[in-house]
């Protein structure tokens, strides 16, 4: 019980901090807040004060997840008429969803994918084309974004299955560069100017109207926060269940040692296909929602550099740990948006950071905990 109280207090503190960061206007205030966060993070990392709490969170996962959802919801309600802050919150949520997909590929099955932004883009372009050309319900269009991304991924399956490590990486890099160039020279998809999307609607809800329920009023972005949060909850549940199940065990075995896995009767190719396809599906759905929210997509949103940002999120957070990548996604999205001095330098900064992390702390901020196959006795 004591640890629950501590967890609530910590979550409240973190939520308040994010609120402060999102509301802060002056650059010096933002810099001060970030410096505070770095100092606090460093102290916590060194003193290991949080370790018992993290253990408790792992033991009471439902509670921890509920707390996280409540914290995002509270944040959204407090920020209800700040359009930009809500946009950022939604972006973080969507990037977390995409990185969860990438995590299934990279973190569990060990299938490298340096074309994350491309599959995100496949989802986005599918949403744009379908929303313009057909009258499909938009929930189905979100799913279609995922399905198209997964199908596009099948093109790469053969070369990825036949190669390993570096070679597979080369294939996805070539695909990322190909996809971006293709979008730019293709007239049917709007070329460099990109495509516009209409308003998103789910049932009677029109997403571009402000929220007004009785006396409560708020920005239309609240609806996007809600949809993104639902999507995130679904993706999180999927990924965690996948990891806990025998599928997760099989994926881990395939990643750690292909030959050993095969000699235990695991069909390595099948698990790689499964992980790659599931991952791309999740990334594609996230891309479709992102396209609806921004209302406009262009090749410049889906560059190789963006793919590398996704990979950075994974590595900084601690590869294979959904909580770690959520934290890293928040840092990678929010910090450059708020601290405008570094906005232009963000690719440079995060690439340098990843190099340093790989050299000095290869496990990332929050390393993936060891799999527990038996319940610990209380």
């Amino acid at each position: 019980m004591r640890s629950r109280g501590a967890a609530v207090a910590l979550t409240a503190a973190v939520t308040a901090f994010v609120w402060g960061l999102l509301r802060a206007e002056s650059q010096s205030a933002i810099a001060a807040l970030l410096a505070l966060a770095v100092a606090a993070g460093f102290v916590l990392l060194k003193t290991r004060w949080l370790d018992p709490l993290a253990g408790a969170a792992l033991a009471n996962e439902r509670f921890a997840q509920g707390l996280a959802v409540a914290s995002v919801a509270a944040l959204a309600l407090v920020l209800r008429d700040d359009d930009f802050a809500l946009l950022l919150v939604t972006r973080v949520l969507i990037v977390i969803v995409a990185c969860l997909g990438l995590n299934v590929q990279f973190g569990y099955a060990g299938v490298v994918n340096f074309a994350g932004a491309s599959f995100f883009g496949v989802g986005g372009y599918t949403a744009a084309v379908l929303a313009r050309a057909t009258g499909l319900p938009h929930v189905l269009i979100l799913l279609a974004g995922g399905v198209t991304a997964a199908l596009t991924g099948t093109v790469l399956l053969l070369p990825i299955l036949r190669t390993r490590g570096h070679y597979a990486a080369l294939i996805t890099i070539a695909f990322a560069l190909l996809f971006r160039t293709f979008l730019e020279v293709n007239d049917a998809l709007g070329g460099p100017q990109g495509l516009k999307l209409g308003e998103m609607r789910i049932g009677p809800i029109r997403f571009n109207d402000p929220v007004g329920i009785g006396p409560f009023e708020g920005s239309f972005y609240l609806k996007y926060v809600a949809v993104a949060l639902i999507l995130l909850a679904l993706a999180f549940a999927l990924v965690l269940r996948l990891e806990r199940s025998w599928i997760g065990l099989a994926l881990d075995a395939v990643r750690i040692d292909e030959i050993a896995a095969a000699s235990f009767g695991l069909d390595v190719a099948r698990w790689k296909i499964a992980a790659f396809t599931i991952g791309n599906f999740v990334i594609g759905v996230a891309g479709a929602l992102s396209a609806f929210m921004i209302g406009f997509i262009a090749p410049n949103n889906y560059t190789f550099a963006e793919s590398l940002i996704f990979v950075s999120v994974l590595l900084l957070g601690g590869i294979g740990n959904p909580w770690g990548l959520s934290l890293a996604a928040a840092i990678v999205i929010l910090v450059p948006e708020k601290l405008q001095v570094i906005q232009e330098y963000r690719f440079l900064m995060f690439a340098t950071l990843v190099v340093l992390v790989l050299l000095f702390r290869p496990v990332g901020l929050l390393p993936r905990p060891l799999r527990r196959l038996v319940e610990r006795s209380p």
Partner: protein, 306 residues
């Protein structure tokens, strides 16, 4: 199609092939000594081109007009800067993670390449836009019918071929080359024979990176333009060429480079949508060839790397 048009395409293909081969030889050398892929090699090419451009800008600003001096300075600066950079990459990025999982080496060099690319984009004056590269070689030439063979192209091709031949001689005929081959064959045995492993690795990285610089300068002189992202295409195709030729095999890398150039040139001629999709086609060829022959056309020969 008339003969002169074909000749023009062959010339374009040969230039491309030489650039790819120079980059691919670097990949294959690094793989030989360390069994790793240096993913930032493509961006080292770009750094070489920009170093050459910087040398030209500085010298012309200080009043040097002699084309010969400028040319020497441009190639010299490019080679020196990238050789140093190669040593730095090997010393501070690659060697520390040598015994880490393969994935980490891949990621660290890939992100290192991003750092180089972004540094050029952000810190080179006007680096975010394509930059004009000066024409330093004579642009006159011989006329055969309607085909115009330019001197500068011939000079670039010949000097590229000489460089590769020189590298080959260095590796097969000198003590240093013997050390490189020994390390490539078996690191531990080479160490017990008294070969300074670190030094050999650093020298190999300097050598491969200097070759990349020449590819970069060649690219600049040929297209009269350099761009911070140009190394991505050269790096991906150079790496694919090295794989196709069998990693660790120098002849294979050269053959692979020219093969890619040939495919690209033929593709540009044969496909109706031609030039707009030329890069899309090049990347598609990389993906398809990797699917068909994942270990290369010639195959890795474990017994004779480099």
């Amino acid at each position: 199609m008339s003969v002169d048009v074909v000749a023009q395409y062959v010339m374009n293909g040969a230039m491309l092939g030489m650039m790819y081969a120079l980059v691919a030889v670097g990949f294959t050398l690094f793989f030989g000594v360390l069994d790793i892929i240096q993913f930032s090699h493509g961006d080292v090419v770009t750094v070489g081109a920009f170093a050459g451009l910087a040398a030209w800008t500085l010298l012309t600003a200080s009043g040097v007009t002699s084309a010969g001096v400028l040319l020497l300075a441009v190639t010299g600066a490019a080679a020196a800067v990238t050789a140093l950079l190669g040593v730095g990459v090997a010393r501070f990025i690659v060697l520390p993670v040598k015994s880490a999982p393969q994935l980490n080496v891949l990621l660290v060099t890939l992100m290192g390449g991003t750092v180089l690319r972004e540094c050029l984009r952000l810190f080179y004056p006007g680096g975010s836009q394509p930059k004009l590269f000066p024409a330093l070689l004579p642009t006159s030439g011989w006329t055969f019918g309607r085909f115009f063979l330019r001197f500068d192209n011939v000079i670039l091709l010949v000097s590229g071929a000489l460089l590769i031949a020189g590298t080959h001689l260095l590796i097969t005929r000198t003590r240093l080359g013997l050390a490189i081959r020994a390390v490539a064959q078996d690191e531990e045995t080479a160490r017990t024979m008294g070969i300074d492993f670190r030094r050999v690795v650093l020298v190999t990285f300097a050598l491969g990176s200097a070759l990349a610089a020449f590819a970069g300068v060649m690219d600049g002189l040929y297209y009269n333009e350099v761009f911070f992202g140009m190394g991505l295409l050269l790096g991906v195709i150079g790496f694919a060429a090295a794989i196709l030729g069998g990693l660790g095999n120098m002849y294979g890398a050269i053959v692979g480079g020219f093969l890619f150039a040939a495919l690209q040139t033929v593709g540009a001629v044969a496909l109706p949508f031609a030039s707009a999709y030329k890069d899309v086609f090049a990347f598609a060829v990389v993906i398809v060839l990797m699917a068909i022959r994942p270990t290369g056309l010639i195959g890795e020969r474990a017994s004779e790397r480099v």
